[in-house]
Symmetry: D2
């Protein structure tokens, strides 16, 4: 076995919190695109990356993830987690393509937390719930068909931070948010031997390959960011849900690229 990819550093590497990529992810996603006052984006978009355009997206995801041998699928406490991803579109300048930046993201398992930090997704622990569409016609199944209603929520440190609802239409739609353009994150760790010097972030994006999708079913959404004494989502001011979708997607991450 190779040396430990991450702490803990044991001689076998077996218990390293994260094993080296590739990392395979497949999940159910509810995506809510929103508009906000672009000027308020300075609270969370690094100026060297550009300025916020006033478009963002919240992704609620119910993932299954594994490494090359797929062992996690046989002991799914290692494979499954839920997360809420917030991304903001940035306008990097003339001639460049649209990109997103991920200022805030919340997950419920430690393995995903660290995988995220290494890719520039600044994860904290949070509890995400999202309705799933089951392939049944039944009042509790919320199937992928017109009129089904889905809900999603995020809570952080015992407070509700995000609430969303989506009512499905019978239309297919395109990709939203981080599904639609490269998404940049910040990686950086302070050095405690010099605690007065904050971390200097480096900007990366995940190196994603082999995407598969089920297609995205359109919906109409409501979205609310609640005030929180620590979390900063409400600094984006009043948000308006502009589009929404739901569906399944699989991706493979094999590392990261400079942004």
């Amino acid at each position: 076995m190779p040396p430990s990819f991450t702490p803990p550093f044991t001689s076998s590497g077996r218990s390293a919190l994260v094993q080296a990529p590739p990392w395979y992810y497949a999940g159910w996603l509810v995506n809510v695109e929103f508009a906000f006052d672009a000027g308020l984006g300075v609270a969370m978009v690094p100026p060297q990356l550009g300025v916020a355009t006033g478009k963002g997206c919240v992704h609620f995801a119910d993932w299954q993830s594994c490494g090359n041998d797929g062992q996690e699928l046989l002991d799914p406490v290692y494979a499954q987690y839920r997360e809420t991803i917030v991304v903001l579109e940035i306008a990097p300048g003339q001639g460049a393509d649209a990109r997103f930046y991920c200022p805030l993201i919340y997950v419920d398992q430690d393995i995903s937390l660290l995988r995220g930090w290494l890719q520039g997704w600044p994860k904290k622990i949070g509890q995400t719930w999202l309705t799933r569409s089951l392939p049944l016609v039944h009042p509790a199944a919320a199937p992928l068909s017109k009129g089904s209603r889905l809900g999603a929520s995020l809570s952080v440190k015992e407070r509700r931070l995000v609430d969303a609802t989506v009512t499905l239409t019978d239309e297919k739609t395109g990709r939203l948010g981080f599904l639609s353009a490269p998404t940049i994150g910040a990686v950086g760790w302070p050095d405690l031997t010099q605690p007065g010097i904050p971390a200097a972030p480096r900007y990366l994006r995940a190196d994603i390959v082999d995407r598969v999708e089920s297609g995205w079913t359109q919906g109409r959404a409501t979205l609310r960011f609640h005030e929180h004494p620590v979390e900063e989502l409400s600094l984006l001011g009043r948000v308006e849900a502009t589009q929404a979708s739901a569906g399944w997607m699989g991706i493979t991450v094999r590392g990261a690229l400079a942004a």
Copy 2:
């Protein structure tokens, strides 16, 4: 609003832990049928119901549930829960049909806990994980097709109690366990004003209507019950997984019937 169906008893009834049925359930189930030494069933089958036949089933379920207005689907912390259901077949005597008895069941939400107690499902809090089949061809998706591997587990009070794995075939199969025959449970509450007198259980079965199913995909399974200082599953001795299946199902419960 009618008076509170269950505690707490407020004048509005709004915060009653459980509202009156009907209750709608739709979920993903992984079912593992097992054989055990029938004589060991006396540890958990009430003699007045008959004797264990040596056949049982463990159902791992990832449910979505709601009442008539479906509000829970818009705030899914109220709709979703996971549980592990153990049922044992009982032979009630000449000419009678097969039935199951539920001696032990574990769930992760309070609403379902109390709904269960009222139906005779003796629920305790436990953590269930089960791999889901996603409609994608991807290493992390475990789709409903030949060769996909699924895992499931139950933990109670911080100890692993059940582990199971299922490798799917490409065959459809029939109903297993509580999906295949009426399943009886015991309802009873001790009276603390006479704490020396234990509860006298009454035997009921859920009144289930309007079942919908996706069909059941067959699998080969492994199953293990671990020893536990409080839980009693290992009293069934050595178990052998005999059949397995996975799929989606919806049901409606409108009350309970005498067993």
Copy 3:
């Protein structure tokens, strides 16, 4: 071993969720007495018990609990839980002594949930946090001395429901809330074979003996009940914290008495 005191009903009784009393409890409590508009008490005080006086108390408790053999203390996931108890004073009529009624209570372990139901404490699952006073002089110890600041919170279904703070004085004080007078609760279960008929509650109070206390240190408090789509605490309107205390207490419950 005697028959199962509660479900599950196995032949050994070993895995019954709750064993027969006596039940021993020792814990750290932060108590906040509050005033509210007495007329609003009709939302949660049964009229046959009397009317609310406009005085209530919230108790935040960090318990350790065991049975006669004390085994739970050797495996403390079975012994420890946290809860938030709301009690309202009721004026039962001329010449009678003050009493409290418990309309709402929230706990984080299943064993305590059921013990509560049997005593008339209408428990639901909720997450309670409360600062502890440690016997150290240190910025993080919040010792039981003048100026120490304590916080407490309750969350239910991923939403903050109660927030309180207490700043200790150097005075000792008397008993507050359920520590000061008998406290009545409602016990009752609907019969699912007749789901149209709600439960008819019976009024009980715990039979408490052998109380030990460390003395209660006085504090000044703030208290806030947040709005919640299901929980009803905010129906008490604007509340004002009138007194507060913190300390340790042990009690034994050996059953229940008619109220």
Copy 4:
């Protein structure tokens, strides 16, 4: 406000997962020293730090922690966490003093997880339970006096990993484990833009000042490390509890020092 000390990197720094030190910690600790086959220490002690002596210690801790303004104590979901710390004594060579190395540690809150990583404590999420001694004479209080029995446990990914019991004597005792000598940890992160190159750890120790203690009450202990498919504690082979203690301690961490 200064820039973010850690991710997320917002312009206010308010929601950084970790704020810059100093960090204040006060807690209740149960400490179990153990002997193991020193040769088995190679599984988790980096050779450049020396070799294991065959002595180790497991610390079960119930912490309260805050920064300079102490705000966390008013909202204790931010202040409180429990953890299990494993340290192994290393013999660094002639004339040098005893030191410990921390190969494995498990905590239940994200803030502490990251603070740990920065100090070289390789934390993963795990659930720790430990009996507390309350200042009461009561069957559930486990007071700090002769004959009281305490339990402690650790679970990781739904499996019990460590069980310990301690029976208190009436003797005071000295410091054990990381309380008695500097303790070294490894800090290092892989660079995902070069995922084939594992992290190169740097060895640090926390810069701890201002320790206060309540004194340590001696106990006799039992200790068991369970097998686990991922975690490696059982690679230390058969362990024997040699000493134990319980008490309160406060420390301040103001950064880290090279080991």
